[in-house]
Structures are given as C-alpha cells and as structure tokens.
C-alpha cells in the first residue's frame, strides 16, 4: 500500500496537471471562438463588463480558495474549482458523504470519500446537462413551468435546512454564536441577500473558527 504522503503527492501532481490542462482549454475557448468567427471582442463591452464583474468575483474567488480548500480536500478542490457550483452542490455533497461514512475531513479517509462524492456529483451534473441540452425542446416548457419555478428558486433553503440539522445537532455549543451573528447581520443589513451570501461564507467561517479556538482553549469543547 502506498504511504499517505505518496498518495497525497500524486493527488497534487495529477491535480495540477489536470487543472492546468482543463483550465487552459476553458481559457482558450474565447480565443478560439474569436479566431473562428474572425472577430475581436468589442473593447467597450469587454471593459465595462469586466469592470462590473471581475473585481468582486476575483476578490471573492481568492477568499473562497482559502476557505473551501481545507473543507473540500485536495482531490475535491482540483475537481470543484474546474466544475464549479461549489457551495450549492459540491461541498454539501462532500460534507454529507463524509458525515455518513463517519470520516473526518482532516484524515486521508475523509480526503478519499470527499473526492469520490465530488467526482460522482461532477459526472452526474455534467451528464444531466448533456441530456438536457440534447432534449432542450421537449424539456423547456417543463423547466420553465411557472408551477415548478418556486421549487427551483428555493434550492438553497431546502439544501441547508437538512444539512444544518445534522451539523447543529452534533455541535450545539459551537453553533450558537455563528448562527446568532449571521441571523442578526442578514436580517438587519439590507445589502445582504442571495447575491452577497458568497461573501459572507468566509466571514462566517473565520468567525466560527475564532469562536471555536477560544472555546477549545477554555476547555468548553
């Protein structure tokens, strides 16, 4: 059997190679499309669009790397940062899988279970979108049905309600401070909503880690 060190080394090596190759393909797509259609981007649209998008999402993206990498594990990180939908799909999927397998995220068993969950989730998502794209004509009325719209709009509350029960019931003492803080912030600050929840994840994580450290040092955990 490979030692833990050598397995992790190989995950990092392979993750880097795949990440760079697939990342390059994704980044080259606009270049190739521009070339094929013989057109350059419209400078004004590009600059205005990027100014409205990139500063916020790059800042959030950099903070997300430091927040999510320890939770996703190495294999999970290399996959998630290519396939996306991290907080609304990949991470909850990995957290639930590790919880059910009774493994800790900090262990190698946790690393392996998290990678399996995220890989399966990525494959299933990709396949469902492929089927959806092929069957777009018959599926569109169903997917755009006003009856089903509220269900698709409420995916995050439905997802985190279940996940919260598992984690809060097992960590009641540690849960109180972050939940109170986030409820107060989200209820009292109008700017905090669906569009800005991503920014609050690192805030919640840092705050909870700080509270956990104090409680741990005082022997309360």
């Amino acid at each position: 059997m490979k030692k833990q060190g050598s397995y992790m080394e190989s995950v990092h090596r392979d993750g880097r190679v795949w990440g760079i190759v697939v990342g390059l393909l994704i980044m080259l797509f606009p270049v190739i499309v521009s070339f094929i259609f013989g057109t350059a981007p419209n400078t004004s649209v590009l600059v205005k669009g990027l100014l409205a998008t990139a500063p916020m999402y790059w800042a959030v993206g950099i903070v997300e790397i430091f927040t999510y990498v320890p939770m996703l594990g190495a294999g999970g990180t290399y996959l998630s940062f290519i396939t996306g939908n991290i907080s609304n799909l990949k991470l909850p999927c990995a957290i639930d899988a590790m919880e059910r397998a009774k493994v800790k995220a900090s262990s190698e068993e946790g690393e392996v279970i998290s990678t399996i969950a995220i890989a399966v989730s990525s494959i299933v998502t990709t396949l469902i979108i492929i089927v959806g794209v092929i069957c777009i004509v018959p599926l569109t009325p169903l997917l755009e049905s006003p009856v089903l719209k509220p269900a698709f709009d409420m995916i995050l509350p439905a997802l985190f309600g279940g996940l919260a029960v598992v984690f809060i019931s097992k960590n009641v003492k540690l849960s109180i401070a972050p939940i109170v803080l986030m409820l107060v912030l989200f209820i009292s600050v109008p700017a905090l909503n669906a569009g800005t929840v991503g920014i609050m994840v690192p805030v919640g994580v840092l705050f909870t880690v700080g509270v956990a450290r104090i409680m741990y040092k005082r022997g309360w955990l």
């Binding site: 994704i26 606009p30 993206g61 790397i65 469902i128 279940g162 029960v165 939940i179 880690v209």
Partner: protein
C-alpha cells in the same frame, strides 16, 4: 465563418472541453476508489457514497439546467452549456452575462446576432471567474500541507477546526434564508417562504435521521439529505402560493 449563437462548431468545441472535464472527474473517481480499497474502507461505504452523491446531485443539477435554458435565449445553447458545466454557478453566470449584455445595451432575452458582442460576453464570463482556475493548481498543496501540519500538531483541534469551518459556511446560508424576513413588517410575507422551506427540509432530515437510528436502517441515512432537499423544494410550491 458566418456567426450564429448555435453554430455547430461551438457545440464541437464545447463538447471537447466537456469531455476533458468528464475525463478529469472519472480519473479522480477511479484513483480515489482504488485508494479507498487500500485504506480498508468498506466496499459498502464506497458504494453508498457513490449512490447517494449521485441521487443528491439530481435536483440541483436540474436547477442548473433551468439556468442553461434561461441563458440560452440570448447566448444560444452552446455557451450556457459550457459555462454551467465548468467553474461558476447559476448566480455568477447570470450576473456576468447580464453585466456584459447591459454594457452592450442589449436585453437579456434578445438573441445576440453580432459576433463581436458574443465573444465579448464570452470573454467577460470566462475571465470574471478565472481566479480559481488560475490559482488553485499553485496554492492548493501549500494550503493543504498547512492544514495537515496543524492537524498533526493537535489532532483534536484539527478536527474541531474542520467542523467549525463547515458550521461557519452553514450559518452564513442559514442567515441568508432569513434575509427578507423583515419585509413581514411592511405586510409582505414572501420573505417567510425560504424560512418555511428550510424548516420543512430540517424536519424531514430530523425524522429520517431519527428513524434510521431507531430502525437501524442505514439506507435511510443515505437518502435523508436528498429526500429533505426534494421535499423542501416541493414545499416551496404551496408556500409560494400561500405567502406571495
């Protein structure tokens, strides 16, 4: 080549990238399953991880598909197919495309006919979220090694740290669920819809978690989260009709 948002060449190019993404996921899946065997993780645990992760993914993936349909009106089908299969999320892609379309003075529902505008939108959507793609291959090992060292120094703290991180993320999303509750004071009860949905999902999870322990039925545990997700989402339909 004459431009069209649904030009076959776009589908071919996107297909190649999607195949690479599938290749990467499959490679890591096989690698992790092999390692699980070496570590002595029970085959039944691996199997249940695979099955329940797949089932859990169905509802969110369909929600992502809804995003593909919405964006396809202006961008054609190939571009949203790519963008929602790779880094980003429904929220990001919609915002990024919207920002670029607004900069071009176009409505979100108008199909793009100018190739220059199309590639501008494409560049904005790609570069706007590229931080992860650019940095992850170079910083992940350092962050992971730092965490491992911390865990080795004090194992108990290492485990608490991970739990604290999960709880921090969950608490942020719980806060978000309550963000429009204040509207009740102005007579608008729609802010209660996400709260009710979250409660339904939490109750389903608690019932299934409790039953699986009482009946010692492991399979129930495997399906508890997917079921709480789907029933929570389904409850949004009557709650929306009632509270909006």
């Amino acid at each position: 080549m004459e431009f069209n948002v649904n030009h076959p060449i776009l589908f071919v190019l996107v297909g190649i990238i999607i195949a690479a993404v599938l290749g990467q996921s499959t490679y890591f899946l096989v690698k992790a399953i092999r390692r699980a065997k070496e570590l002595g993780i029970a085959g039944s645990t691996v199997k249940s991880t695979v099955i329940s992760s797949a089932i859990f993914t169905i509802a969110p993936a369909i929600a992502i598909l809804v995003g593909v349909v919405a964006l396809s009106k202006s961008l054609g089908l190939a571009l949203p197919w790519l963008r929602l299969s790779v880094i980003g999320s429904i929220t990001y892609e919609t915002v990024a495309a919207g920002n670029a379309l607004t900069a071009a003075g176009l409505e979100a529902s108008a199909t793009i006919v100018d190739p220059s505008i199309f590639v501008s939108v494409l560049w904005v959507m790609t570069i706007g979220i590229a931080a992860g793609i650019v940095l992850v291959p170079f910083v992940t090992k350092k962050i992971q090694n730092g965490m491992l060292k911390m865990g080795m120094k004090d194992k108990k703290w290492g485990e608490i740290l991970n739990t604290a991180m999960f709880l921090g993320m969950i608490s942020a999303f719980l806060g978000y669920v309550f963000c429009d509750v204040g509207l009740v004071f102005s007579g608008d009860t729609s802010g209660l819809i996400p709260v009710c949905v979250m409660l339904v999902s939490a109750v389903v999870m608690a019932i299934f978690g409790g039953l699986s322990k009482i009946l010692r039925a492991r399979w129930m545990e495997d399906y508890a989260l997917p079921l709480s997700l789907v029933l929570g989402m389904a409850s949004a339909i009557p709650f929306t009709a009632w509270l909006r």
